[in-house]
């Protein structure tokens, strides 16, 4: 069975949403946190509801709906999301009120919208979609888990036209906690110079990227998802990558471009550096986290980018690691890891 990406939409700190340009008009920002650019939600959500909805719900709905519009599909066969922290804004709001109001006279809205499956549920509600609806919340492989579920559903022939997305919002409280946990750099820097001075920490980010996946071949498809692999604490990622590529009857030479999860943190990037001296030696490489920041479902941004690269045949200059020319890459490997524990491999091919 083959898995195709029919369409994709991405809300991110860059002009990625409903944009004709493909990562040419780059937003530079100084600090240690990139915020997503808000689309005009009126196009996608009833204005009365917009006010009540948190950032992550709105980003998710906009990306999901745009994805359906692009593919000209009204009703998806399933809705699956991945998110590590879920509706963290509403969670923090409700926690704050519990403390400040000493558990009394609390309004329910923040609690109601705090459950991790709210984005998937709101999409279903808006579309009146009664089909399979699931949400995965497993740290740095939340999105990959959702995508994995979609691939299984297609394989089981249980559903087609599956809407699958990765969503994450950053709020002040989570940013403060994650900063204290040492995830981010200790001084402000431009996202475009993230890779210039390898030190401890990266920059935070957020976003929502959705994909409509199908087993139907069509010239209109954006890309093919040739392979997907999730790994936990692998003993040799190098061997796992070789095995993964082989399992799809390809060799490393067949891969035109590798997108890695390089994020500017010395320790995080060690493995990418070591691979660039071994199996990825002389291989065109691309980065994406200087564009969207680091967050648990950032690999969904990478998949959006890779799909558009194989469809349009152009690699955005801003994404390239070093200088190289490469016309019409056909096979792109995305390799990302989250804090060294969770590793994921996605192989994307031109259709």
């Amino acid at each position: 069975m083959k898995v195709y990406i029919r369409s994709s939409a991405c809300v991110s700190p860059q002009n990625t949403f409903n944009s004709v340009d493909f990562l040419t008009d780059i937003i530079e920002s100084t600090g240690t946190r990139l915020k997503a650019i808000e689309p005009d939600y009126k196009e996608f959500i009833d204005p009365k509801q917009i006010r009540r909805m948190s950032h992550v719900i709105k980003m998710g709905i906009a990306a999901a709906k745009s994805c359906l519009t692009q593919a000209d599909v009204e009703m998806p066969g399933a809705v699956i999301t991945g998110t590590a922290l879920g509706c963290i804004a509403d969670t923090v709001t409700f926690l704050t009120r519990i403390v400040e109001q000493e558990e009394e006279m609390l309004p329910p809205t923040a609690f109601i919208q705090s459950t991790h499956n709210t984005v998937a549920a709101q999409i279903a509600l808006m579309l009146k979609c009664h089909n399979y609806n699931n949400t995965f919340v497993h740290k740095g492989i939340s999105f990959e888990s959702a995508l994995f579920d979609a691939v299984m559903l297609l394989n089981e022939q249980e559903a087609d036209n599956i809407l699958v997305g990765g969503v994450e919002e950053m709020v002040d409280a989570s940013f403060a906690v994650l900063t204290r946990l040492g995830l981010y750099k200790r001084w402000p820097l431009s996202n475009l110079s993230l890779y210039n001075t390898p030190t401890n920490g990266t920059i935070g980010g957020e976003g929502a990227a959705f994909f409509l996946v199908s087993s139907e071949e069509s010239s209109d498809n954006l890309a093919q998802l040739t392979g997907l692999k999730l790994l936990y604490k692998p003993t040799s990622i190098e061997e796992d990558i070789i095995t993964f590529i082989k399992s799809h009857e390809l060799s490393i030479e067949d891969i035109d471009l590798v997108i890695t999860g390089k994020n500017g943190d010395t320790k995080n990037d060690e493995i990418y550096k070591s691979l660039s001296d071994s199996i990825f030696k002389n291989k065109p490489l691309a980065n994406y986290k200087h564009l969207c920041g680091e967050y648990p479902t950032s690999s969904s941004f990478a998949l959006w980018m890779a799909s558009n690269i194989v469809k349009g045949g152009v690699i955005p200059e801003i994404a390239k690691e070093g200088k190289f020319e490469l016309a019409s890459p056909k096979k792109v490997l995305i390799y990302n890891h989250y804090q060294g524990k969770y590793h994921s491999l996605m192989l994307i091919s031109a259709t």
Binding site: V79, A84, L85, G86, T91, F94, L95, T96, I98, V99, E100, E102, E103, E104, L106, P107, P108, F111, I112, Q113, S114, T115, H116, N117, T118, A120, A121, Q122, A124, L125, L127, K128, C129, H130, N131, Y132, N133, N134, T135, F136, V137, H138, K139, I141, S142, S145, F148, D149, M152, N155, E156, A173, A176, V177, R180, L181, L230, Y232, K233, K341
Partner: protein, 399 residues
């Protein structure tokens, strides 16, 4: 794609017992687990009954062989998951591909809400240790590490249907030949966050809950965890003992009506039950027992009852809500009730719906009031419905 998925092991901890044997004994002796709040520091002590696991974090930690300063949700998970895996007693487990699919609704919230008090006053305060494992995935990861599972793991969170979804995702991992063995279910501990959340919705009963009763007034929150060990046909053949049953049907459908309320006609519940029957190739008349979602809130039970009436009428199988024993354990409920469903088949039991008095006006049926023994149970349906219209039905079938 391999056809059948077998249940090889069960593990549970809840307000009615710290293991399978204790839970079964309480189910048989009609012993409910609700009582006053003793563990949480909340203004609702002595006001709202809850169904607590009767062990402190220190005691749970000793049982789980884990540190006592981690989330209670993780401790509960580790205990039941280990019991399930030991129960399955799978030969040469190390040579098999094993997965862990766990669910929970609020991750390490019991610790996070402690952290938050100090953090809110000053963002540089609060013990980082208490917030480090806030993410839902952390509970799963810590338990997987403890069990030595690394081939596949993920976490599901769809509110109150979370662990039912985890169980059938686990079954599908086997059918898709991703793993040979999977431990699947869910866990949740009581938190101030959820207690206050449900309280704002005004759906907590100040007395012990009365699911499916005309005069029901809401749910009691509970805590615990429940896991099944699911194995492929190939592994089932090598087991020292006969597997309990198969997971023959499953479905998730969405009510698509409201973020928290169920539709009046229970569309999502209806579609989930119908879908699970279709998947199993069974008729409504084949179902010998329904373990209801049956939270005890006016809206939930009405929707579920209406959906059952529409799908099963006029022949209704025996049914009951074991939330009348355990309270509503949220992300753990689907796992705990899956264990109870498996035990119903194995022990030929139908559990009573405790405290039931008056049939609901709108329904032509009522739940079972007394323990039924020596029942020839071939097929059990277990319902789990959650926020976001997330409705899941599982069907377990005798071998």
């Amino acid at each position: 794609m391999s056809s059948s998925v077998y249940i090889a092991g069960v593990g549970v901890i809840s307000a009615i017992g710290n293991n399978v044997a204790e839970n079964l004994a309480s189910l048989k002796s009609e012993h409910a687990g609700m009582g006053d709040i003793t563990m949480m520091d909340t203004i609702y002590r002595k006001q709202l009954p809850v169904a607590e696991v009767k062990l402190s974090n220190d005691e749970l930690a000793a049982l789980a062989d884990l540190p006592a300063n981690i989330s209670r949700t993780t401790l509960l998970s580790a205990i039941a998951a280990k019991e399930a895996l030991d129960d399955a007693n799978i030969p040469n487990l190390n040579s098999l591909r094993t997965g862990f699919v766990s669910a929970n609704s609020v991750g390490g919230m019991d610790k996070s809400e402690d952290f938050f008090v100090k953090f809110l006053a000053d963002n540089s305060k609060g013990k980082l240790r208490d917030i480090f494992d806030h993410e839902c995935g952390s509970m799963t990861e810590l338990v997987a590490d403890k069990l030595g599972i690394s081939d596949f793991m993920t976490t599901v969170s769809t509110a109150c249907s979370s662990s039912a979804n985890a169980i059938f995702y686990g079954a599908r991992l086997i059918k898709n030949d991703i793993v040979d063995v999977v431990i699947a279910g869910g866990t949740d501990s009581l938190t101030k966050f959820t207690l206050n959340g449900f309280n704002t919705l005004m759906i907590l009963d100040k007395e012990f809950c009365k699911p499916f009763d005309e005069n029901r007034e809401g749910l009691n929150l509970g805590e615990g965890s429940g896991y099944l060990v699911l194995v492929s046909e190939k592994v089932a053949k090598k087991l020292a003992k006969q597997p309990y049953c198969t997971l023959s049907g499953y479905n998730n459908s969405n009510d698509a009506y409201h973020q928290t309320a169920s539709s009046p006609d229970g569309t999502g519940s209806y579609l989930a039950m119908l879908g699970a029957l279709k998947k199993s190739g069974l008729q409504t008349t084949d179902i010998d027992y329904i373990n209801l979602h049956g939270t005890g809130t006016p809206n939930n039970d009405s929707a579920e009852g209406t959906a059952i009436k529409r799908l099963f009428g006029p022949d209704y199988p025996p049914m009951s809500s074991t939330k009348s024993y355990t309270g509503h354990t949220l992300g753990a409920s689907g796992g705990i009730e899956a264990v109870f469903s498996v035990l119903a088949i194995k022990n030929k039991l139908i559990y009573p719906n405790l405290r039931f008095e008056t049939r609901m006006d709108e329904l032509p049926f009522e739940p079972v009031k007394e323990l039924l023994t020596d029942q020839d149970i071939k097929h059990v349906m277990s319902n789990s419905f959650g926020f976001g219209g997330n409705c899941t039905s599982l069907i377990f079938s005798a071998i």
